[in-house]
Amino acid sequence: MTGDDRLTVAAVEQTTVDVRSYVLTSHRPLRPYEPGSHLVVGLDGVRTCYSLTDDGTAPDAYRISVRRTGRGGLSDALHDTVRVGGQLSVSGPRSAFPPVPHARHHLFVAAGIGITPILSHLGAARRWGRSCSVVYGYRSGAAAHLELVRRLAGADLVEAPGRTALASAVAEAVERQPVGTHLYACGPRAVLDLVTDRCAAAGWPPERVHVEHFTAPDLDAGAPFEVLVRSSGRRLPVPAGVSLLEVLERDGVAVDHLCRTGVCGRCRIGVLAGTPEHRDLVLPAALRDAADRMYPCVSRAGTAELELDL
């Protein structure tokens, strides 16, 4: 199942005050997925990525957890309109936050609803007997899936109620991880910045640190630039505030894409000349300077022109 598919909402559960979990099923067998994968859910033309919470090995259903933001948008619409027995249009699952199987130890850091992909990783680590530990930061009384996390993680769990507790738990954890550990963090930007800063200070190479943003950062409109499409030889202006992906689509250049927020990695295209300005969340730290590829849904140009391998 890679194209759009309709799944049935088999159950809806109020997980915390503002988080609901949806159990999605199909009459057809559901494709297994890598831990940390997401499903792209579409409603009224809007699409958003939600992490799947099971380990993915032999899924009987796809489970996602959605937090009401109170700011409208797809998450709130799901809370307001989707009921048991209803249908959702989804695509995926897609993997953009996979485990590193050869890691000697896995350290999982979750903040708030960022627990969703971490839960998936934790389940897989337990299934395959991979050494792991978890740091879970949450607001008291609003910790999604806390019981399940406790049951799976057992003694390997550090709970951190509140930002201060989380900051010190992270600071402590990154100082004493066994050689060969990989760290996976999901949460709001501030927490992820804290994690990457702490790791850098403790001498971690960036390749060991894997972060998943559950909210895409708000991006500024960016400066205008031009692209040259190799196959057609056409030169297209990309105005400020308009994404390269939109410009390409309007010109009839088909680019496969999903999330439009720089998270899923689907719209990757090749760059032949010029330097892209990477604004996506897909490229790992070690590849932030890569000039041969870009994600046109959010990324722009660092040079006046880019030549695209399209």
Binding site: Y33, E34, T57, P93, G129
Partner: protein, 334 residues
């Protein structure tokens, strides 16, 4: 030069029916160069003599003989199967994928069942195999899960996993490779693995291929063919077994003008992105056809002659026929 006595070459000769041969040359093309020749799998292709390509793993008429040969090699050289510890989940996914592919092809002989208890049961009446195991067990019927699959299918099996945006060989179960060493390749990067191949290493082809493989979607199945020339019908052309071959054989076949007994060795390769582990399963099915048989198909005879005549010297050397190319071309013209 060899100080140890040579083991006599007793490997049986194998021949793929022409009707099943994955003819590796593009229709109408009379030259051949390396390129990233990949296409989606599971689609049959018609050739001048038949068709191929319906299945990803295929149980064909050669199955009993090929499996007997594989078992003999694995009994003698268990190091043909090896795996890094972290490859267990991917090996299990490969095992379940592979058995599910072949089970429906011979429902009279194979039986794959997943019980409500989560136990997987496999039965192969042709080989007399019968086992049950749980997903994740370190051993299946006494073997690593990838080796357990190799014991049931004709294909050579490789698992590759991504690390920092590059692919590495994480597990190997192979008995019929061309003249390279699969047991040496465990743990190697995709790029290093290909470094002995002329032309592709400096052309950027390896990097582009690797990027293609890394971008495959979960569940994607692609395939490609590769070919070389070989002097006998033995399936195991590996470097592991090269001391078993009679070193004068190729030269003699050529000098005695036995060109008709040379074989076209075709590798039908499949690439599968396993969805639950993200690992890449690489499958090679080796096919062998004697030149004497190939030339009975007129289109093939003409095309093969043109390709062999035109192929640049470095590629001809790599493919194994540069030393006797002139005589071989004359033979086509007889």
């Amino acid at each position: 030069m060899t100080t140890a006595p040579r083991t006599p070459d007793t490997a049986p000769s194998y021949a793929t029916p022409l009707a099943e041969l994955a003819w590796p040359f593009e229709p109408g093309a009379d030259t051949y160069r390396y390129w990233i020749n990949v296409e989606r799998g599971r689609r049959p292709v018609a050739t001048a003599a038949g068709s191929w390509g319906r299945h990803v793993l295929e149980v064909d008429g050669g199955y009993p003989a090929v499996m007997a040969e594989r078992t003999a090699i694995l009994d003698r050289e268990p190091r043909r199967c090896s795996a890094l510890p972290h490859a267990l989940p991917a090996a299990w996914e490969a095992l379940e994928f592979g058995l599910a592919e072949i089970a429906p092809q011979r429902p009279d002989l194979f039986r794959l069942q997943r019980g409500d208890d989560g136990v997987l049961r496999w039965r192969n009446d042709l080989l007399g195999t019968r086992w049950s195991a749980r997903t994740g067990d370190p051993l299946v019927d006494g073997a690593h899960p990838l080796a357990a699959l190799a014991g049931q299918v004709q294909e050579d099996l490789f698992l590759l996993g991504p690390r920092e945006d590059r692919l590495y060989v994480d597990a190997v179960a192979a008995t019929f490779t061309g003249s390279w060493s699969s047991s040496f390749s465990l743990g190697m990067s995709f790029a290093d693995l290909h470094s002995p191949v002329p032309r592709i290493r400096d052309s950027g082809m390896v990097d582009r291929t690797e990027r293609f493989l890394l971008s495959l979607d979960p569940g994607d199945v692609y395939r490609r063919t590769n070919w070389s020339i070989y002097d006998s019908g033995r399936l195991d052309a590996s470097l592991e077994a090269s001391h078993r071959r009679d070193p004068g054989h190729a030269v003699r076949s050529a000098t005695e003008h036995r060109y008709g007994s040379l074989r076209l060795r075709v590798e039908l390769q499949h690439l599968v992105r396993l969805p639950a582990t993200g690992a890449l399963l690489f499958l090679i099915k080796t096919q062998l056809a004697a030149f004497a048989d190939i030339v009975t198909v007129p289109q093939w005879a003409g095309q093969l002659r043109s390709v062999l005549a035109e192929l640049p010297e470095d590629m001809a050397a790599y493919k194994g026929f540069a030393r006797y190319r002139p005589g071989l071309l004359d033979w086509f013209d007889l």
